[in-house]
């Protein structure tokens, strides 16, 4: 079992759906939503939340600073 569990919260209305976080995620947690936000962008979301390790790679590469990353130690 993973030593760390993480989770992210995306500010849906500010996300522009560029997909850089999806490409940066090493655990393949993220994908763009089928739905769109108020501006018509397919916002980023967790599709595989159990795999998130809270590494914050998505937050680091996000150009719009819309991602908040949470992390806990499970051991």
């Amino acid at each position: 079992m993973a030593k760390f569990r993480g989770a992210i919260v995306v500010d849906k209305e500010k996300c522009k759906g560029c997909g850089l976080c999806v490409a940066a995620c090493p655990a393949k947690v993220l994908d763009l939503a089928k739905e769109v936000n108020g501006k018509g962008y397919h916002y980023s979301q967790m599709v595989n939340p159990e795999a998130c390790i809270g590494c914050a790679s998505c937050g680091l590469v996000c150009p719009d600073a819309v991602i908040t990353v949470y992390k806990i130690n499970v051991q």
Binding site: A7, K14, K16, C18, L20, G54, C55, L60, Y70
Partner: protein, 255 residues
């Protein structure tokens, strides 16, 4: 034992969040534009050093002309290419402040080529953040001095031809030869590791201002996915394959 998301998403478990130095305004940049990442790391450096009320930015003409909407510090707006001249005045009048310019390649390497050379040669105590994406982004993707040979832009529809348009300008290498500069580096921000390295470089540049060492020049090799007509992920890939051979990353000068 199953852990619910509600157990993880608690304020005490935050490991990464938007710095308060960035305002809540939605950036006008295209989706995936690396300007946003650079704004963010500058804001994080300012927050970590605790210099929010002592920093004065000089914004250029170009896509980042509205940078003053996004970083909650004092700003001045310079005429096209003249940010180093304005920053010179500000830093001489306020030697205790941290003064930086934020310029693109059209602004710094083309119309502002004279200003940046002389500001760096005088060794003004400022930080220069230079965003190089090899194109004029704001005006619709025309050729810039840094455009690569063969690169298709609005004004070079058959690719940049050395005979007609000259060669790409590696301005950071030129600036590294000037005695006034103390730190000249080229970084990028396309991966998490690169973001961390670029942030460390910008932090070092601001520390140099504190020590009154001279001009610190940080080039960030960046993308313009709209101007290059690629999606953000393809643009990052194109940058790695085409920009890095011409614009190799690393420190050129560190004294």
């Amino acid at each position: 034992m199953s852990i619910e998301l509600e157990d993880i998403i608690k304020p005490e478990n935050i490991v990464y969040k938007k710095t308060p130095v960035l305002t809540d305004n939605v950036m006008h940049y295209c989706p995936g534009c690396l300007h946003g990442v650079v704004h963010k790391i500058i804001a994080e450096v300012i927050e970590e050093m605790g210099i929010q009320d002592k920093t004065i930015g000089v914004s250029p003409v170009g896509c980042s002309v509205l940078a003053y909407n996004y970083l909650d510090i004092d700003w001045a707006e310079a005429a096209h290419g003249r940010a180093p001249a304005l920053a010179t005045g500000i830093s001489r009048l306020h030697p205790e402040k941290y003064v930086f310019t934020y310029q693109g390649d059209g602004d710094l390497a083309s119309i502002g080529c004279g200003e940046i050379m002389h500001a760096c040669n005088r060794g003004e105590n400022i930080v220069v953040i230079f965003i190089n994406n090899a194109i004029y982004g704001m005006t619709g993707g025309q050729m810039a001095p840094t455009t690569l040979l063969g690169q298709v832009t609005a004004t070079t529809p058959y690719g940049r031809d050395a005979k007609l348009n000259g060669f790409p300008l590696r301005i950071t290498e030129l600036i590294a030869q000037l005695d006034g500069t103390c730190y000249v580096t080229r970084q990028t921000v396309h991966t998490p590791a690169a973001v961390r390295k670029a942030k460390a470089a910008i932090r070092k540049a601001f520390e140099n201002t504190k020590k009154d060492k001279g001009t610190s020049f940080v080039e960030i090799v960046s993308t313009c996915n709209s101007g290059w007509k690629l999606d953000p992920i393809q643009a990052n890939k194109w940058m790695v394959e085409n920009m890095f051979p011409k614009y190799p990353l690393g420190d050129m000068k560190d004294i």
